[in-house]
Symmetry: C2
Subunit: 278 residues, 2 copies
DNA sequence: GCGCTTTTGTGCGCGTGTTCACAAACCCGT
DNA sequence: ACGGGTTTGTGAACACGCGCACAAAAGCGC
């Protein structure tokens, strides 16, 4: 692959020479001819590495091996090395990686050497928590505006920023050059808000509402779904209980309803509710 | 595989007749701890289907095809069918799926026919939002206790529930039979809280703190990482900009429109900040 | 009963991601 | 200069999940 690469910027002289990745052959009939190449799965882990590296830098650590960094990030070291190799050949064999240098390279790859303006739409429980959260600002994101549809919310100050009305959405997006829209409205309003954001030029959306949104191609949509996370945990919890119950039932004569056996275990608070809610 | 299966419960007479699935009873001698192997990826989508199905049921829809349900869930219909096939053969060829019946089956599989007690640890911005959120209770989860280390927080009522002190964690877990622990403390405290939860018997943990946690095998750990989500979006945003810039550079002859496009497009607020933060 | 239509359930090829394991590269002491 | 010790970068095998495409079932009209 890159074995034939001429040579990498020798780090001795300090300033790194950003190298553009070549559009890996593969005549895939994919969308945009972007300088493709770095796997989505790897990208999703870069923030993890970055966080661990920054923590190390704070502790005064200047050099780190893939094994150490992998441990701190909770991943396999081979995976870590392969992930980093997608950015370039930034390590030193027999030594490891220089922390500062790697922090810079990952930051650059993730686009964190710039500030991105973020708009939060829906300033309720969750939107307010997000607005008050200091962790974003320190990581390259600037909460540029807060938007809500409720006239009672409009004008209130949250974390030093005034809540603006939904009517001004388009103007605010343009004014602040908002790049990322965060949707924290009720599910029913989410699609409409997304549509307006996209129409206003936003091409990155993070959705917290429990709704399936559709956006045109070219717009990046990610979602955070808390209910789903809990439900996945519930599945494993139940499976664990059933496994025990199953074993127990193997001895007894199973009548018709296995369910009764299950809730004998320490699991749920309420005895197997008859009516299903959800 | 099971094509030659002798016969499955024929629900020919139209009526749902909720039928319990075979407890892996058939002659097969596969007896491991886990009764069955339903792929993790499928499980993660079940809540999505469930949500769509419930919405349909509310609208009075009683029957749905895989194509329709897949559309409403934003997934490929073949994938949907394969996912559902892991639960059993609950559809009717040529017709589709009965909404109520499917809601029941998925709920059962996810363990949502029971209530699970949830503890939230760290009642700050985020923990408070979670505690105030009504969406959990309606989906089989009951916020059983709120725990914080700050004496000033202790005793306050949030959403009708008094905040308790961290010292009582073990007692509260036992008392309420907490099955799921939600960590919303600062990152520095997360591992310690997780350790105490696990020691107290909790085997499902949802972590919001930006920290890599380790839990013993057998404990299910999931995380929600908002900063990471934003950083992934930032990556795509940046890639998009570079792609345009790249193209512009290639066609250096016509810089006119392209250059404007870049500027006009929502770029970073600050022109490539010199200092990297993160 | 029979053929026609519809839709499920799934076999199969494919691409993506993960992990192992090892040669190449580098540092350092002698 | 050189050899020994260490760690990277990556080829290759493996595992997994996705989606196409199709035969098998079910319903329906006649
Ligand atoms: N609070 C949580 O912990 C939590 C957890 C999981 C999911 N969610 C989801 O996040 C979203 C927000 O939750 P929340 O608890 O903050 O709800 P909330 O009701 O407290 O806040 C919603 C806010 O959105 C505003 N709003 C309504 N329609 C709007 C529109 N069209 N445009 C702009 N603003 C609008 C409302 O005025 C309100 O201020 C919901 O979809 C919820 O399901 C929240
Ligand atoms: N607020 C957000 O929108 C947001 C977004 C992303 C991530 N997070 C993460 O979620 C976590 C909570 O965020 P927040 O904004 O609510 O912070 P916060 O500072 O408002 O709240 C933290 C709470 O945890 C309590 N606490 C501290 N140590 C504790 C301990 N050992 N045991 C129990 N409670 C303890 C504090 O008293 C405080 O009430 C943080 O790790 C943060 O990084 C928050």
């Amino acid at each position: 692959m890159r074995a034939s690469s001429p040579e990498r910027p020798s780090r001795g002289s300090g300033v790194p020479t950003p190298r553009r990745r070549r559009a890996s052959g593969r005549g895939s009939a994919e969308h945009d001819g972007a300088p493709r190449g770095i796997p989505e799965a790897s990208i999703a882990r870069l923030p993890l590495y970055l966080r661990a590296l920054v923590a190390m830098a704070d502790r005064g650590i200047t050099s780190v091996s893939s094994e150490e960094l992998a441990g701190a990030s909770g991943v396999n070291s081979a995976k870590l090395r392969k992930d980093l190799s997608h950015l370039g050949s930034y390590g030193t064999r027999g030594v490891g990686y220089e922390v500062d240098y790697l922090v810079y390279q990952i930051s650059r790859e993730l686009g964190l050497t710039q500030d991105w303006a973020v708009a939060i739409i829906g300033i309720g429980n969750l939107g307010r928590a997000l607005a008050n959260y200091g962790g974003f600002a320190t990581r390259g994101f600037r909460t540029a505006c807060l938007i809500d549809a409720d006239p009672n919310q409009v004008g209130q100050r949250v974390s030093g920023l005034a809540v603006r009305h939904l009517d001004d959405l388009e103007a605010l997006i343009a004014e602040h050059r908002v790049a990322i829209g965060v949707i924290a409205t009720p599910a029913g309003a989410a699609q409409e808000v997304a549509d307006r954001l996209v129409a206003a030029g936003v091409r990155s959306v993070l959705n917290f509402a429990p709704a399936v949104l559709t956006v045109p191609p070219g717009v990046e949509l990610r979602k955070v779904d808390l209910s789903t996370e809990l439900q996945i945990l519930a599945f494993h919890e139940q499976r664990r209980v059933s496994a025990v119950a199953f074993e127990a039932a193997a001895n007894a004569v199973v009548p018709d309803d296995v369910g009764d056996v299950i809730d004998a275990e320490l699991g749920p608070v309420a005895p197997a509710a008859s009516g299903l809610r959800v």
